[in-house]
Symmetry: C2
Subunit: 374 residues, 2 copies
């Protein structure tokens, strides 16, 4: 399967409603693929809180109506924050030749309290949340464990945040495209849940992203070399180890096998940095470095744009933004742009192989895709 | 693909939370298939309002945790009230050999006002709902058009309701298993939206249903002879004709072709009677009878349990209940039980071929499956 068209709206605070953002990204991806809606055989829509936020859950039918390709099957799929990766994973395994996969989320119109509740729908309500483990608390616990086990420091976390903010300034569609952030800003930002500060957390964003998948290769096509997905217990209580996500490990092992590559063969990576600690854990789970070494890697600039293995060149969830249903698709849009050599000021040199890791909940679901040039 | 295991909870007002109902149906289906969770390669979860109602959207990961089969891919899929049919449609097209498909919904714990809002998430918010076309109003409009065009009467609608309530009294798991309903009750029930009365509307139900799908046939397996899905514009405003659902027509044409059967070859049918008028429209769209003749068919008892083509032997959405995400799966559970000859007091004689039609929104999505004995 190939990614033949890509589209993405500006992430951030949008004045457009959910369906308009979805349409905008979809139209862009179709235009980019030199296709029309009539060429499609199926549509997959990735969206998480469409109901409570935009009051629309039947977004698949809405999108088919807007694109005027009524008739073809259209699905809405969701796996919490891994909804995008899950939609692409399913689309790849479907029998269709030409598929549109759109992810969209509208989050800035609801109150912080409502958003916090909606995001909580992705976590474990039975064991974790009753003990106060809402998302920032869960990731703070993971950060604490990582610090205790490996000596990871606040500076390691800050280095992830700074790198992603620096990258986002080269990405005109990023949520924080125009926000200059210094190490001092990060260090002085308010504590959300110790040790995580405000700048360790991804923002609440609106946005949409889309890819057109085709069985046949076309001019600009990027090859999907591997697609894997795995789950873990939804509750942290049931896990033996908090410094690693088994779902990421399992999915990436399968993906590396399928693509016939190893972490050292990758030129660029998009990982699910909903919190800075998540980027460090992802690096270790994906085999980029040994457990406990991720902080050092980031501090040494190895994952910067001009580093050994650039991670999150678009700014990641931290600075590109995290419109939940769109996130996993946006990662693939960024990788495809990088492998095409069309990533502008944030172009990674000679990028030929890239990996995207998309996580749902606190590691309850993970989707891993590997893309190759041509 | 085969349906090798089936499970269903009692539909109605349940004291169990969403995840427990889902687990109960899943465990039953696995037991029925003589399989354990370890035999599964993927799980599909069909759920509509899990977020706002049960505050859990990552139900796929929850279920994998409860079944202790962490690791395998698990998806949540949704197409409004066609979520169940959509999940089965996608599972059939997946590369896995052994799949669990579970549909579940918890609806009775939220207020009528909240439920009304949540159900509205399945309809068109941009054009229809702004004009007052919430679900009962949309189907009332369809009923009015059907009456004007074909002379369909209130008695035709009442006959559908009565038949389904009579059937549900033979179904111990039905929402209205123990409710005796007379034609007088139906005729005197309050008007919800003219011409639809209370007894023309399906109830708000809790419940779960599950099927185990296998690529290999086993002892009790029922063959899935066809699986089709289609969409239409989500808004009624954009349709030329309100007395017919194009999505049902298109999906069923494809399904009949795939299975090599016609409507006249069917022995039993499950249709999406969210309102009584929807059963009449479905009969015509599925080719059971000519447009305008459905009312007569029902009044003459042709679709009764002992009729020419029994429709909704379990009581349908009207009387078995309509726990949204579970509905499309429950239809297949009923058909499988009928084709196995295990439907007890509501057994349709010599049932060898059955069809299920599951609708999302006001016909924005339709899924049609045809099952064959053996």
């Amino acid at each position: 399967m190939f990614i033949t068209g890509i589209g993405k709206t500006k992430f951030g605070v949008s004045e457009s409603p959910l369906h308009e953002m979805a349409y905008e990204a979809a139209a862009q991806a179709l235009h980019d693929a030199d296709m029309t809606p009539k060429d499609l055989q199926a549509v997959y829509v990735s969206n998480f809180v469409g109901g409570p936020d935009a009051r629309q859950l039947h977004l698949n039918a809405v999108l088919v109506s807007l694109l005027q390709c009524e008739g073809i099957p259209a699905f809405r799929t969701e796996a919490a924050c891994a909804a995008g990766g899950s939609a692409v994973f399913q689309a790849i395994r479907s029998p269709y030749d030409n598929i549109l996969v759109v992810g969209a989320e509208k989050m800035t119109t609801t109150s912080a309290k409502q958003n916090s509740m909606h995001i909580g729908f992705a976590g474990d309500r039975l064991l974790d949340q009753k003990e106060g483990l809402i998302f920032p608390a869960s990731y703070a616990l993971i950060a604490q464990q990582h610090m205790m086990t490996y000596g990871t420091t606040l500076d390691d976390l800050a280095a992830v945040s700074l790198k992603n903010h620096v990258n986002s300034q080269r990405n005109p569609l990023a949520h924080f495209a125009h926000k200059k952030v210094t190490l001092e800003d990060i260090r002085k930002s308010p504590i959300v849940c110790s040790p995580l500060r405000l700048f360790d957390c991804s923002p609440i964003s609106d946005g949409a992203a889309a890819v057109v998948l085709t069985k046949k290769k076309k001019g600009n096509s990027i090859s999907i070399a591997a697609s894997a997905m795995a789950t873990d217990s939804i509750s942290l209580v049931q896990r033996k180890n908090l410094t690693s996500f088994q779902a990421t490990k399992r999915a990436s092992e399968n993906a590396y096998k399928e693509a016939g590559v190893q972490a050292k063969d990758l030129d660029v990576m998009e990982v699910h940095d909903c919190f800075t600690i998540a980027e460090l854990v992802a690096m270790e789970d994906l085999g980029v470095c040994a457990p406990g070494e991720s902080g050092k890697w980031v501090r040494e600039g190895k994952t910067a744009l001009n580093g050994e293995l650039p991670i999150n060149p678009d700014g990641g969830l931290k600075a590109d933004g995290h419109p939940i249903g769109a996130t996993g698709i946006a990662q693939l849009v960024e990788l495809a742009a990088q492998l095409r050599g069309e990533a502008g000021k944030r172009q990674v040199k000679n990028a030929e192989t890239g990996l995207a890791q998309n996580v749902g909940g606190v590691g309850g679901t993970a989707a891993v895709h590997i893309l190759k040039k041509g």
